[in-house]
Symmetry: C2
Subunit: 378 residues, 2 copies
């Protein structure tokens, strides 16, 4: 009987080997697509082409009795690799007469990513680091674009220290707050100004589908080419005022980071047994624990900077803490009905998003479960 | 130039069609494997076979210039489908002389999943619902296994109402707390007793890799067959005492659920613009928002039950709230150094897990980004 299984498994191995060969062929074709896109100046991320292709493949799959979600998930995963390899081919340069680009803090991770992408797009890029500040003037002279990519705390000071830039030079920052740096840039430079906030870590394999928020500073005509360039890199550009940006970020960043920090500190104070918690956990709790734990593999100063970047952040966190306390007191007083009522009110607030999130997270939790390794391994 | 792109895309479409055909062939082979496993009584989840196969495929992929992670991710996704289809073939029955199985609350979702799996394994399964309580005695007479699958709040009462069961009948519950139901079962029945807590929702496509926690009540020899049966279904069985289970669950369930509830209530009170938050969000925040939002597509009573299932849960949540407040006060007083110090202490507490979680979540966040749809769609 074991032999019967072995014969079938050999056949499955054959199929899987053909799968590997198909992927190799597909990646070669995609590299060729990348070269054409590079010449044409087309974005590596083509959402309409992607959506149309998936509709066709889903239908073909169903006709052959293959679950449509399986083929969609696989193709989405393959496309991630395609974007990454298209990226390496290089990108069309949207502003060939720009002149020099200088990335202040370009040796850092995020600055380095922009240096890399700008070079792949044919620009001449220089890096200016702290220890080169004496040479700042010659390095910055004749710059067509200056990007400030230093830690939040230092951003305003670095902007204020900049020597006078050429009048038509575009000044840009990458900080995760927008009001203060934008004000500082507008005060320090009379030419075009743009605030950017890339919503991803420097370790992404490509910019396909990644969000870059931008807040206009001055002279949109003079920075449209940079938006077009980032669009070619695959990014989704979202315009928002600096004020709205900072308000949203006190929820999206400050509150979430602080909450994760407090949850980690709580687990530590409770002397929780992490190995046992993982052994006993559902995919959803494992995921939540991972989202908290990942914080502590990173630099505390980055999180301190983000949380302390605006006093309104601490006010937001304090309001959350108060509400949390009130809701808890209710339950401690045995008022279960109030809990159920408030829960329903929040459900109404989430509206269609609650179901969308349930569906989306179900798929992600299934993917998290796919990756579970041997029993009892961490 | 556009034609050049069209030619390449046609070739990619050809490759993708072959991909669909390969998947169709693989699923047929897997169905045949399922039949053999069914006859042999082998678990649908074979971690060693899976690990060995992935090592081989990764090496073959690299030899052809295909990223090893790509083939591993794709095969893991394909295997999920395989488990689901192996499941439908049925399972070997590990206790053919058991006699009747009765699932109290078997019309509910989780109870229904066990009814389905037990039937697929060749057992005779009856369901006992509230409205049939008058016939409880005849339905339960001659039962070899009784599973109580009713909401937490009702579990103890239902157990106490059970008529006398046959002496050698195995009594089991599926509740997400273990101390109280186990005590109630031991008091109500003199035969073998087992507490189970399945750590997954009723909508999983198969039990492969899913965790089922068990707490021994009485007479391990008389329930070993059920553990073996669930192992065949693909589950990972974790033994833990009822007391340790309930302690862990106040962290894994009560605190996390309450925190998500409070965060949802906070977003609602702040009148947050969800569409804008999603447009401006990183994959990580979108994921966190989804994990919170999914709660509100579900039944408030389920969450009230879990949180209120033990007074120690509320004590745990209160301790978290106090610590959160202390950590926040520190920051409000401008004590950044204390934040950085405590952060580092928690990093040490997480140890190797911090890096493991960072790596694991990076992969999941990339998968979350793969699934992003057209710009501005929810």
């Amino acid at each position: 009987m074991v032999d019967e299984l072995a014969v079938l498994r050999d056949q499955i191995d054959d199929v899987d080997q053909q799968l590997v060969e198909l992927f190799a062929r597909r990646l070669k074709l995609v590299a060729a697509v990348g070269e054409v896109k590079n010449r044409q100046g087309v974005s590596i991320y083509a959402p309409e082409r992607e959506a149309a292709m998936l509709v066709k493949r889903r239908a073909e799959a169903e006709a052959l009795g293959v679950p449509a979600d399986l083929i969609e998930d696989v193709l989405r995963r393959v496309m991630r690799e395609s974007y990454a390899s298209e990226k390496d081919v290089g990108f069309k340069c949207m502003n060939p007469t720009l002149g020099k680009v200088v990335v202040v803090g370009g040796a850092g991770k995020l600055g380095g990513l922009f240096v890399h992408l700008l070079k792949l797009s044919g620009y001449h890029v220089s890096v200016l680091e702290k220890n080169q500040w004496a040479e700042a003037e010659p390095i910055l002279s004749e710059a067509g674009l200056v990007i400030v990519a230093v830690p939040i705390e230092q951003t305003v000071a670095v902007i204020q220290q900049l020597p006078e830039l050429p009048a038509n030079c575009l000044l840009v920052d990458l900080t995760s707050i927008k009001e203060e740096p934008l004000q500082a840039m507008l005060a320090a430079h009379k030419g075009p100004v743009l605030g950017l906030h890339p919503m991803f870590g420097p370790d992404v394999s490509s910019l396909a589908k990644q969000v870059i928020i931008y807040s206009e500073g001055r002279d949109k005509d003079a920075f449209d080419w940079l938006l077009a360039q980032m669009h070619i890199w695959g990014a989704r550009l979202q315009a928002v005022s600096a004020e709205e940006h900072d308000q949203a970020m006190s929820l999206v960043q400050a509150l979430r980071h602080f909450t994760s920090f407090a949850y980690g500190a709580h687990l530590c104070a409770e002397q929780a047994d992490l190995t046992q918690l993982l052994n006993l956990s559902s995919p959803i709790y494992r995921l939540e624990l991972a989202m908290v734990g990942r914080l502590f593999a990173q630099d505390p100063n980055l999180y301190a900077d983000i949380i302390l970047s605006a006093p309104t952040n601490l006010h937001m966190i304090r309001r959350y803490h108060s509400r949390f306390g009130e809701l808890l007191t209710q339950l401690e007083q045995g008022n279960r009905d109030a809990f159920v009522q408030q829960f329903s009110a929040v459900s109404e607030f989430f509206g269609d998003y609650a179901d969308i999130f349930l569906k989306e997270s179900r798929n992600l939790l299934a993917q998290a479960n796919d990756s579970r390794h041997l029993p009892n391994s961490p």
